[in-house]
Amino acid sequence: MKRNYIQQAWLVIVLACLFGAALAAVHAGLGPRIAQNRLNDTLSQIPTLVEGAARGEPLEIGGRIVYRAVDGEGAAAGWVVPAGGQGFADRIELLIGLDREAAQITGLYILQQNETPGLGNRVTEPEWRARFAGQSALAPLTVVKGRAGGAGEVEAVTGATVSSQSVVGIVNEAVARFRRERPEGAP
């Protein structure tokens, strides 16, 4: 009876082996490329977030990964801090660029969001993100509606105040904590 069963299942077993081999090959061939894609998602942004940076070096601070942005020669150019929090619809994950003293925000990049297309997801647009560059990192930013923001202020995306506030909140909190926890005197 049992033998019979195995006899019948031989096709399944052969197929499983074949498929296993094929998948192993795919994994071997494409795995590194996929991993690189994932990493690129973060690392490739570093030069755009911190002026003069060429690449980032991961570093663990307080149980979290941050990146030290270094220029071509390996000299410190600034910091890139990953952060995340709740947006209007779903979590928003982003990267914050800071200068060497972590005194000024140099850039912002949204890694992942699920906000309403056409509304909340406009926080990913470069024009809006540009409002963060050059802001001081010493005091929390505030959101303003309907008028251009001055120093320390970010104008909300029209019709998406909640998303805008979420992003600013995430940035404020992450920057404040990073300033508290970052290694003394670094980089």
Partner: protein
């Protein structure tokens, strides 16, 4: 002669059948989930369509090749194993070469595994007919499915973003000068728009084919 009869529809019939008379989306109402989930952009629709076509083609060919060896009670198991393998391959290939699309389509690519279009084709055609017919069937059904997705995406992307293939080709259909809140119907991008669009298109498709049948 009798052998031909047993072989069922010809490759050409299979191929053409998939396009309209037996269109998976509009006629068989199969694979509705991806039809809704990935069709807010043409890019998503096309990518999903091609991925499904790939899986369908590979599975149909393989199943047809081994059809004399199939045992009835292990049939579904073999189908599922085959489909899951090809889906995994498609998923990895996308992640490697079209990372953005892979991120956008998320879990809907692996969901092709349970997409009934594919199991249905394995069952109806591939496990009974010769390789060439099975391949033609897969092509027809896959293209029919892609066509279905793209019609939905056309409506949704144009109304929702004012573009057609906006991400890849940047074609604007509604001029950018139109006020944004007038030209971009957010609802079309969101779930309600997906359901409403598919519902209406189903109605249009039925009305058109009904008219044709009446005329014939």
């Amino acid at each position: 002669m009798s052998e031909r009869k047993n072989d069922g529809p010809t490759p050409m019939e299979r191929f053409l059948g998939g396009l309209i008379p037996e269109n998976p989306v509009y006629r068989q109402i199969l694979g509705i989930c991806p039809s809704l989930a990935v069709t807010n952009t043409m890019e998503g629709a096309l990518t999903m369509g091609v991925a499904a076509l790939f899986v369908l083609l590979c599975s149909n060919i393989l199943i047809s090749l081994i059809r004399p060896l199939l045992k009835p009670h292990l049939r579904i198991l073999v189908f599922t194993l085959t489909i899951a393998t090809f889906v995994t391959i498609a998923d990895r290939v996308l992640a490697a070469y079209l990372y953005d699309m892979s991120k956008q389509l998320g879990p809907y690519i692996p969901l092709i595994i349970v997409n009934c279009v594919i199991i249905a084709r394995c069952e109806i055609c591939a496990s009974k007919q010769r390789v060439f017919t099975a391949a033609a069937d897969a092509l027809g059904q896959g293209l029919g499915f892609t066509l279905g997705l793209m019609t939905i995406a056309t409506v949704r992307e144009i109304l929702g973003f004012g573009t057609w293939f906006g991400k890849w080709l940047g074609w604007r259909v509604i001029p950018a000068t139109a006020p944004a809140h007038w030209s971009n119907w957010v609802i079309m991008i969101l779930p309600p728009g997906a359901f409403l669009t598919l519902g209406l298109l189903l109605g249009v498709f039925n009305a058109l084919t009904a008219k044709k049948e009446k005329a014939a």
